[in-house]
Symmetry: C2
């Protein structure tokens, strides 16, 4: 039986929404441990028997991740990672500071390979199927070789989790032609072309939606901006749709139409579906959106559990060690 | 009376859609000249009296912009720019290769100031009002000082075209805090902070939709990826909405609901509304989406005409010369 250690203090609505999400997951039969400030967590447990390890320090979004990890050994994320490291858990989930989770995971769990830069891979909704998008914000400055490693990790990730053979890998760029982009993309293109990955060439922002590739590779600056742009655009359109339906539609039609549209809204709502994976460290670590609701936390825990059940970390480690 | 010179051969559906768009604009009382292959243009004129200057060479998306401008003196974009330079037109519109329009405009019209990098500013729809977004893809590698110039140009642009005083300027970044981003953003932040612009700090991808700033500044690589991501996300959501309405809604409701949603679709459809301005050259030059339809071309010509009527280039040149 797998247990997932949860950073109960990480996230805009922590600990309440995190604890509630953990309870929802527990009720679906998944074992969880909460790491955080016992006194603040317990009121939300409402009699549910979930173990809590007392790590009362909190790392905020303003803290420098590397300093915070050094200076706050009793931080909730460190507690969750310690559980995984001591084999009391098989996976970790946090909706807290991404930087702290990254630095903490490297320091507590270690990297899969010495010369690898761990990366954050997000699973995004596409028209036909989900895609893997990385780096989502772990590494803002990268070299061409780093993008090659990201591509290899993303490809292996898609292979294991989506169960597809030789996933199609695309390099996010500003045009399809080989000579497009910055020096970074031009060099990375050549590295990818001569690699043994199923590299399909450059892909553009608009291809994210049309499942042209299974794996989209970019640096963490561009990646983070892209994710937030997708979020903002989807919300803008939803707000405009709400307004126009309110104004123009015969009132009794509003409720059936809004109900019909709800699954689309949910599909593109990062608070509901977003779950990102930290790749390149010794263990299954997943990262949720800062504004995660209990529902989002539950879904992320389910994702994490699925990754563990598929033997993700063993298969992934073996593949990476061969790179 | 103003005349707008149009690159009739630029765009995925040129010359047909371009000529048709020019006719639509002409019928609204705007004088236009077409530049391109006379033999190919005339069949679409259908008796409309629009002057055509014969510049039969075409620059494709595969051509290197700087080589093509040197080697094809009879390219349609060059003809349109020549009309402006010879004062036979007061503005130029092209839906062709952005690179060729940029290089051509610098070579034919010249830059407003020697040490300036011309930039492409796009007007994007926001929830409360439109925003200015730059650079949309003219300069993929920039220095902090370049971003400062972009900010100054974008601010002046918003002031003149949106008629707002001291527009709010935001730096596109991966977090709000001052120390976020690459070295580029950290240095640009400091330059912007000590400038006389109304700098409101870092803004994120999701702020594009909520009108947090009037002017969003970034490098041309990130900018281009952002624009295409917005386009792809909006289309993905629209497709999902269509599918779900088809599946779930009582059939007779489909048509009124689709009609009610049409304005939203149009608002976020770059083929319909997108018009970008080339800033930093001696003249009003606007750029349309490659897939511009006749309707999009007409709208872009109206935009261009509005800019000319507001005395854009004089006001803008004066402001830039003081930088």
């Amino acid at each position: 039986m797998n247990t997932i250690a949860i950073d109960a203090m990480g996230g805009d609505f922590a600990p309440e929404e995190i604890v509630k999400g953990a309870i929802l997951a527990k009720n679906l039969g998944i074992d969880v441990i909460l790491s955080g400030d016992k006194d603040l967590i317990e009121p939300y447990l409402e009699g549910n028997k979930i173990p809590v390890v007392d790590y009362p320090e909190v790392i905020s979004m303003e803290d420098s991740p590397s300093k915070a990890i050094r200076r706050k050994p009793k931080a909730s994320i460190v507690g969750a990672l310690n559980m995984l490291n001591e084999n009391k858990a098989q996976g970790v989930f946090s909706a807290g500071s991404t930087g702290a989770t990254l630095v903490g995971a490297i320091s507590v769990l270690g990297k899969l390979k010495r010369d690898i830069r761990p990366t954050i891979a997000s699973v995004l909704p596409g028209l036909e199927r989900d895609i893997v998008f990385l780096d989502s914000g772990a590494n803002v400055d990268v070299k061409p070789k780093t993008l090659l490693y990201f591509a290899a990790m993303g490809s292996k990730f898609a292979e294991i989790l989506f169960e597809i053979e030789s996933p199609k890998v695309g390099l996010l760029n500003i045009g399809e032609e080989e000579n497009k982009g910055r020096d970074l993309e031009i060099s990375a293109y050549n590295l990818l072309k001569s690699s043994n990955l199923n590299f399909i060439g450059n892909v553009e922002g608009r291809d994210l939606a049309n499942s042209k590739a299974d794996v989209f590779v970019t640096d963490g600056f561009t990646g983070n901006v892209v994710l937030k742009t997708m979020e903002g655009t989807a919300k803008l359109q939803q707000t405009l749709i709400s307004q126009t339906l309110q104004d123009k539609l015969f009132k009794p039609l509003l409720i059936p139409v809004k109900n019909a549209l709800k699954p689309v809204k949910d599909k593109l709502n990062p608070d509901k579906i977003n779950c990102s994976y930290l790749l390149g460290v010794n263990g299954v670590v997943t990262i949720g959106h800062g504004s995660s609701s209990a529902e989002a936390v539950k879904n992320s825990i389910l994702h994490t559990n699925k990754a563990i059940e598929r033997g993700f970390i063993n298969k992934f480690s073996n593949a990476i060690s061969e790179l």
